[in-house]
């Protein structure tokens, strides 16, 4: 990231609710009470839930999906090494709330029920906006959406099959018809997405 891109992101964050950190409340004490988190970060059942949810958010269609792009592994790595203890605790807390949200454990729901639940909670999260309860099932869905999108759109399939990416453009055209800008899709670019 260079200064120009960073400044662009800073002014973009000011514009967008998407930039509002979902995990703004830092509760160090609560984080310190959490049990130690192993190197894999998620327990196998937790990992299964995360994988199932990101598969709903970015499924395989005519292009690869989040699972094809290795997004569950990316998410585990991000929590293990990148996000703070408070962010870890927040996500796991929200995951636990999500597990209770459908009455039945998520993985025991059928595909249509899973999709309906994720869609409903996603809608709730958007309706809550900045007032979202960070420990809620809805917060889990929205955080998982951000993580899935970050992992996917930084992956090779995301950059090259949904977006377009040219490693060495070799030239610059400032103002061309959209249809003449490569294949007319959005360019993959450096970006910032706070959890």
């Amino acid at each position: 990231m260079n200064r120009r891109e960073w400044l662009k992101c800073m002014s973009a964050l000011a514009l967008s609710a998407a930039g509002a950190p979902l995990l703004a409340v830092f509760d160090a004490h609560a984080a310190a009470q959490k049990p130690a988190i192993g190197p894999r970060f998620f327990s196998p059942p937790q990992a299964d839930v995360v994988a199932a949810v990101v598969d709903i958010i970015i499924p395989r269609t005519d292009t690869p999906g989040a699972l094809d792009a290795g997004v569950p592994r990316f998410i585990a790595q991000m929590f293990r090494d990148v996000y703070s203890k408070a962010e870890q605790a927040r996500y796991l807390g929200a995951l636990a709330a999500f597990e209770r949200a459908g009455g039945t454990p998520f993985l025991q729901l059928d595909a249509a029920q899973r999709k309906a639940l994720v869609t409903r909670l996603h809608g709730e999260a958007l309706a809550s906006g900045r007032h979202i309860d960070h420990n809620s099932a809805a917060a889990f869905v929205l955080m998982s959406k951000k993580l899935a999108m970050l992992g996917y759109f930084m992956s090779e399939p995301g950059c090259t099959q949904v977006l377009q990416y040219v490693a060495v453009p070799g030239g610059y055209q400032a103002d061309v018809p959209l249809s003449k800008a490569g294949n007319g899709r959005a360019w993959a670019v450096e970006t910032v997405l706070r959890l």
Binding site: S11, A12, S16, I57, M78, M154, A174
Partner: protein, 563 residues
């Protein structure tokens, strides 16, 4: 000892040191070039060719990276990414003190911050060199624009600066490679600014090669490939850095001896000769001490590196620091007022896009306190900004999941535009660094303590920076106009200046009009510490021009036997 004697010593290899090395070696001086950091040859850029998916953690810093970089991960900085973190110092190993908070963002390696700089290259104007004298602020510059203009020409021609000829008194034109282009929305904004507010918007002037260089002295440098990954180091040599440009030229003369990991911690003064005779060096890896000697010394250690070195070099002649008869060494710290601006969304233009990644943006030159404009503060500011189409992050708070989400991400989003101000900071004696000799770093060297803050002038200006940005975007008819202010301390602009200012009077300044120490004529200081005022333009180009001019003068004076 014979192998430790040179004609010249250059301390530091950043923007200024690289130029000193090139000029002095090309003029035939056997020159020792020292840098405190590790060697980085042109091409040693480990992440330069990595695709997004080849960088771990989506390029974000890990908790361990954050732990090692508590300063460099402050909200005002952006460099601790997987792709660029290796260019920035480890804060735990390189501590400093903050009586008042200061953002000190540093890169210790051969090439210094010339590897990561923003490349925006603007001349100071006649008005800028006259301002201190007219306003009675700080000390008058001992030089004027005409003294420096030929050296700006010289430097621009060598490094290659892409820009337009804009005929602005406050921003003199230079020797430019072809300008890069504005995109559809930037052109729209330019027209509306001109018609509604009478203000100018120009394409940024940047040290990227928009065309081949007009000389054949840098065969390692090729035109820009429009990847916009400059900060990782450019294997094409398409932007100016010491590594890609000045140091290879110095190397080719056969007159340069480069020593990396060489921390210069003291200038050696000879009372009998009334001159500096050399430098004391600590090897950063082995701790070995070595003295090197030369007839002239160029101090290009960066503004605060230089302040540290001068304050640490005490002797019976200079009990308060080398060349510090005036008491001004370490004082008059300047940066640019930084971190504020505004953004907006722009409707329409949805059938327009761009190809390639331009390492440049637009520039709105200073318009405040020029001509009939009069504000309740002195000086002014410029803006740097750009327009682009929003990326997929816009879809996070859209009611889209699954196939719909992927389809929506395929299309570029609406246009948005943003800009950030860079404002002039006045010199003030009270903004200063001192050495704390009671606390040492791991090399046993005393810590720098920063004590600087923006004054009333800067506070007033910053309000205008935010308000004007929002007003201009509103006047252009854009929507969701949002002013913003990033939490930033002095230093966050990374345009560090002052601490050894130029001036005519040895009683009130450290350097004369040739960047030569009033009190020790064979020492030249040509990095940001020499600056008497900050203007609002990015200062690196001025350091380069001052360095080339000082090197030319130093060699002439050597020949005349005056130093």
């Amino acid at each position: 000892m014979n192998n430790h004697i040179y004609d010249a010593i250059v301390i530091g290899t950043g923007i200024s040191g690289g130029w000193a090395a090139k000029e002095l070696t090309e003029k035939g001086l056997k020159t020792l070039v020292l840098d405190r950091g590790r060697m980085v040859e042109h091409g040693d850029y480990p992440t330069a060719m990595k695709a997004p998916w080849e960088l771990p953690y989506a390029d974000e810093p890990t908790q361990e990276d954050i732990r090692r970089h508590p300063v460099h991960t402050r909200p005002s900085f952006y460099g601790i990414k997987q792709s660029t973190k290796h260019w920035f110092v480890d804060d735990l190993d390189n501590p400093y003190e903050e009586t008042r908070p200061f953002d000190w963002f540093r890169g210790y390696q051969v090439g210094g911050r010339s590897l990561m700089w923003g490349r925006q290259s603007y001349r100071f104007s006649p008005m800028d060199f006259e301002a201190n004298g007219k306003d009675g602020v700080g000390v008058d510059w001992p030089i004027r624009y005409d003294d420096l203009a030929p050296w700006y020409d010289y430097v621009e021609e060598f490094i290659g600066v892409s820009g337009d000829t804009d005929h602005l008194a406050q921003l003199p034109d230079g020797q430019y490679l072809p300008p890069m282009e504005l995109n559809a929305v930037e052109k729209d904004f330019r027209e509306k600014l001109a018609s509604k507010l009478g203000r100018r918007l120009i394409i940024g002037r940047t040290a990227n090669l928009s065309a081949p260089l007009k000389h054949d002295k840098s065969p390692q440098r090729a035109p820009c490939q429009y990847r916009n990954l400059c900060m990782r180091g450019c294997p094409y040599g398409a932007y100016f850095s010491s590594n890609s440009s000045t140091l290879p030229s110095a190397q080719r003369t056969g007159n340069m001896t480069m020593v990396a990991n060489a921390i210069v911690h003291e200038l050696i003064y000879d009372n009998a000769k009334g001159k500096a005779t050399g430098v004391r060096v600590l090897n950063a890896e082995t701790g070995q001490q070595t003295d090197y000697f030369a007839r002239i010394i160029f101090v290009c250690a960066s503004t605060f590196g230089t302040a540290h070195l001068l304050l640490n070099s005490t002797s019976s002649r200079f009990p308060n620091g080398f060349g510090n008869d005036s008491g001004e060494v370490g004082h008059n710290i300047m940066d640019h007022v930084f971190g504020s601006g505004a953004g907006a969304l722009v409707d329409g233009h949805e059938d327009r896009y761009y190809t390639g990644r331009r390492p440049n943006g637009f520039y709105i030159p200073r318009y405040r306190n020029i001509g009939s404009d009069k504000r309740d503060y002195l000086r002014g500011f410029g803006y740097q900004g750009g327009a682009s189409r929003q990326d997929w992050t816009r879809l996070v708070d859209q009611p889209l999941l699954g196939d719909e989400l992927k389809r929506a991400a395929e299309a570029p989003g609406p246009w948005r535009i943003g800009m950030t101000g860079f404002g002039e900071m006045l010199p003030s004696h009270s903004n200063h660094v001192t050495l704390d000799r009671n606390r040492k770093d791991k090399y046993g060297l005393p810590l720098l303590n920063f004590d600087a803050a923006h004054g009333e002038n800067e506070v007033r200006m910053e309000k205008d920076i935010m308000n004007d940005a929002a007003e201009m975007l509103s006047a252009a008819g854009y929507r969701n106009v949002t002013p913003y202010k990033t939490k930033a301390n002095v230093g966050a602009g990374i345009h560090e200046m002052g601490t050894a200012r130029m001036g005519r009077d040895p009683k009130t300044s450290v350097l004369n009009g040739w960047n030569q120490m009033h009190a020790c004529k064979n020492v030249f200081v040509t990095d940001g510490s020499c600056m008497a005022s900050s203007a609002c333009q990015n200062p690196s180009l001025t350091y380069m021009a001052l360095t080339a001019r000082a090197a030319n003068h130093a060699v002439e004076e050597l020949k005349r036997g005056n130093v």
